[in-house]
Symmetry: C2
Subunit: 215 residues, 2 copies
């Protein structure tokens, strides 16, 4: 594979992501992408059979991004800073790949391969990772206090709020663009889900953390 080929391939992915995020994936065609990059449609089709293949490659980058950053440290116990980092990672991923979350059901319905991989990702990887993290935080004992039976519904609620936050903001305020402030509001919502489980001793630390995301 020549150097030029790799470069064009990566540029197509990078600029497509930018266009999808700014204008929505549905309104962008392969012709738009080629024109934006100043390459011929033929050149684009040399690298990707169709738009779905570009979307799918972007999804794989999203998955790698999450997997690399949500790992559990093996050489030490988890700390509250880890929780903060996980939240930041989740919303950073949402922000950087936000076009995926404007209409995830529709996007998946149009990309069978992505639907299957997404399904695999959230069920056998992400769900266990998230529940595992919670158990760790509860084991710390200092920070969160919840019954074992509560872990799954709480994890599910957090997952749901993160996943649909942008779609929620978009339908609630259709004229306002999605901004990084939207991500901050999303973090606040997730923190509000955790707040009732925060141990009294840790409440000052928690309030300090929440203040980082205040208006």
């Amino acid at each position: 594979m020549s150097k030029t080929r790799i470069k064009t391939y990566d540029r197509i992915i990078l600029e497509s992501l930018k266009l999808f995020n700014e204008q929505g994936e549905r309104s962008i065609t392969t012709n738009h992408i080629a024109a934006h990059l100043g390459i011929s449609p033929g050149n684009l089709y040399y690298h990707f059979r169709n738009k779905e293949e570009i979307v799918y490659q972007i999804f794989l980058q999203y998955r790698d991004f999450i997997n690399e950053r949500l790992t559990v440290p093996l050489d030490r116990r988890m700390t509250v800073d880890d929780l903060v980092n996980y939240l930041d990672t989740a919303f950073l991923a949402m922000w950087q790949f936000r076009f995926m979350f404007y209409d995830l059901p529709g996007l998946l319905a149009r990309n069978p391969q992505m639907q299957s991989d997404y399904h695999q990702f959230v069920h056998s990887e992400l769900k266990d990772i998230l529940a595992g993290h919670f158990r760790e935080f509860i084991k710390l004992g200092l920070f969160l206090k919840m019954d074992e039976a509560d872990i799954e519904p709480i994890t599910l609620n957090i997952w749901l709020v993160v996943k649909f936050w942008f779609a929620f903001e978009q339908t609630a305020w259709p004229d306002a663009p999605i901004t990084e402030e939207s991500s901050r509001r999303g973090v606040r919502q997730v923190l509000s889900l955790l707040k009732p489980y925060v141990q009294d001793d840790f409440m000052p630390v928690f309030e300090q953390l929440a203040a980082r995301y205040a208006d």
Copy 2:
């Protein structure tokens, strides 16, 4: 307006709702609806200019359904049964009008009139109604205990879980159809949001309520 005209008009709305719910709004055309009803496309167009107008009329029915059932009783204090009824109403509405919630952002983007009305509905009506209900439940003192500052984020989380529950289930388990059991799982998720705020004295009543929605 003749009796036949009213009848056909209502039948179009009713059967369209059924088809949208079962097969998704995007895959159903006005021709499908006419064929399903055994009427000519011309007859359908006599009543509705296009599919968006049918979708919009269905949205108005949804709005009326919510507005009629989420009213605050004027002649008595609210009770825990009222909370249960509100939850049932929310998910019954979600179930009966479920096609609207598979891809709400996309649906609204294709229907400017509906987007504007939906926006008006959730901001100036529904949001106040929900927050008002919470304040009532907290005033009861017996049931929920939360700070004034927590009411808004909690209301928002409940709203988000209700609104995106079906989309969440659809993307998480794409091969499983949305059923009434999905609604029950949705109620369980909402109850899990409320659980940490339930007063100790009321926990037995709450557990009894939750058991009604158990597996």
